[in-house]
């Protein structure tokens, strides 16, 4: 799961770079050439890619937590196996993305420490609670669905090592999405109680999915580094629109209602009314919809979401609990190969 939309990425295309090299670099990117690790690149690009890959990696391993809570409660052997494998995939994606980041110059341990001490961020959507089994279905259907859309565009980016990792990750996301779709379909073909549970989970996750892509980009996004350097290739609003076009009609067909909701500070829905704005514009093929609560988005991203503290505490607990194992394997008796 997850994506890399980091809304507050500081990027400074500095003037200290050799202007000729910079121009050549930017021309290559404009021509659609991919950058490989050995190529010349501006410092700001290297730092930006590191920040993006690190944020993405953090999101994968924090993203393993909400779903991880339900492995012990999965309601059949097959679901238990699937959920374990799914969460394991997130850990695997985290591991691969940390490797991309390590090659850009930051150690794994430094990244894990910065994450658990709150110096670096992870994707906002994991700061919401998953109080029922239907939330797991929604995370895999909506959030993984959103993540695939986002990551498909990231795989069209310009940084070769990130692109090749993204392609590999996307291959596995198809399983996550299909498994989520299967769960949602099963629940919505089930008992009234299951349907109710599913609608409630949908109400919790629909606005989070809309926020998934991040707030609207600045009007000149195309000329600013993240897009100019093809670190990202599509505007957040455009991805969000594609998401709604795909999922709003599917939800309706399943018998789910797209609601506009208010939530309390624990992330639970306090009111839900059908989204009056939701309709298909036949001319454009686009569905109009009510925007999520962006004030809430900023509140959560600043650390005041329903689960921020719990997610970080668990991550820190795991990091500290495993410290002795890492010390053990780095402490001496192991041999490293000689230099070539």
């Amino acid at each position: 799961m997850s994506g890399a939309s980091n809304p507050s990425q500081p990027m400074d295309p500095t003037g200290h770079e050799d202007p000729e090299k910079l121009a050549e670099f930017e021309q290559r990117i404009a021509d659609g050439v991919l950058i490989e690790a050995g190529d010349w690149m501006p410092d700001a690009y290297r730092m930006g890619m590191l920040g993006m890959a690190e944020h993405h990696a953090n999101s994968e391993i924090i993203g393993a937590l909400p779903e991880g809570e339900w492995i012990t409660r999965a309601p059949s052997m097959r679901r238990k196996l699937a959920l374990t494998a799914k969460v394991q995939d997130e850990v695997g994606h985290g591991q691969m993305l940390y490797r991309v980041s390590q090659e850009l110059g930051k150690s794994r341990d430094d990244m894990l420490r910065d994450l658990v001490t709150g110096k670096t961020k992870y994707h906002n959507c994991f700061n919401y609670p998953a109080p029922t089994w239907a939330d797991i279905a929604m995370i895999q259907w909506l959030i993984d669905g959103a993540a695939i859309m986002n990551q498909k565009t990231l795989a069209d980016g310009a940084y070769g090592p990130y692109v090749r990792t993204m392609n590999r990750i996307n291959m596995e996301e198809a399983f996550h999405f299909k498994s989520g779709e299967d769960m949602v379909l099963t629940l919505m073909s089930g008992t009234p109680g299951q349907k109710k549970m599913t609608q409630e989970a949908f109400d919790r996750w629909w606005p989070v999915s809309l926020m998934f892509f991040g707030p609207a980009d600045k009007p000149n996004a195309e000329s600013r580094p993240p897009m100019r350097w093809r670190m990202k290739v599509e505007r957040n609003d455009s991805l969000r629109q594609r998401f709604v076009n795909r999922f709003a009609p599917a939800a309706q067909d399943l018998g789910l209602t797209v609601n506009v909701v208010t939530k309390d500070d624990k992330g639970y829905v306090t009111s839900a009314t059908p989204d009056e704005a939701l309709m298909l514009d036949e001319a454009t093929g686009n569905w109009s919809f009510t925007q999520p609560d962006w004030d809430e988005f900023w509140r959560v991203i600043r650390g005041n979401g329903p689960c921020n503290q719990h997610r970080l505490s668990l991550r820190r607990f795991s990091y500290e609990q495993g410290g002795w194992v890492r010390r053990a394997i780095t402490s001496g008796t192991v041999s490293t190969p000689p230099a070539a």
Partner: protein, 202 residues
């Protein structure tokens, strides 16, 4: 949820000192016998024994494969990455030790094992590799001394599992999803939706 996820033991104070990253290993997998080994990913492990375990338990189970190739990143020697496919050179010879030659078919693509070549050093191995394998289809070469390559082909222990692993692949859900959707939508609408899913939306 399990107790531990709810009732966390909070360690007091600052974090204990960190640990250095362990060694960096690169992993390639072979999907079918005779197929080329292709780059799968990389990982950290303190030594070869753990590197091999980690590579088979992660990359060996991501998609069906019959063998896994692992080497320490330190032994990889990369030639420059071209913007256009490289032309074959004229370096040739059969002296020196054996090197595995990997080629990158395009920028952002995956390295593939093309074969082996003898050469006295890495520079010459890249040059001879280019002569032998460039063929206008490779943008970058990597050479690794064959003695530092380890291939696990399942003979020393299983890689791909024997139990049904459909639960962890999309194909394991396709039939069920189709059946459930077609109870809601007709088969044709579902088919359009599925195709559109792949081509347009995802």
């Amino acid at each position: 949820m399990s107790k531990i996820r709810e009732q966390l033991i909070q360690h007091e104070g600052d974090l204990a000192p960190g640990t250095p990253d362990t060694e960096h290993w690169i992993v390639y997998t072979q999907k079918k016998p005779e197929a080329r080994f292709r780059w799968a990913g990389s990982l950290n492990a303190p030594d070869l024994e753990l590197a091999l375990q980690f590579s088979s338990e992660h990359y060996g189970l991501d998609e069906a494969c019959v063998a896994i190739l692992t080497h320490h990143a330190r032994f990889a020697h990369d030639g420059p990455c071209g913007f256009e496919p490289l032309e074959a050179g004229d370096s040739a010879g059969d002296d020196g030790t054996s090197w595995c030659v990997f080629g990158l078919p395009r920028r952002g693509g995956n390295l593939e094992l093309l074969g082996t070549i003898n050469a006295p050093d890495s520079t010459e191995a890249i040059a001879r590799g280019t002569t032998a394998y460039a063929n206008g289809r490779i943008v970058q070469f990597r050479v690794v001394p064959e003695e530092h390559i380890t291939i696990s082909d399942g003979r020393g222990g299983l890689i791909w599992r024997l139990h049904d692993m459909n639960y962890k692949f999309a194909k394991g859900y396709s039939k069920g999803v189709r059946e459930k959707w077609t109870r809601i939508r007709d088969a044709e609408t579902y088919e359009d939706y599925r195709k559109e899913d792949i081509h347009k939306h995802f």
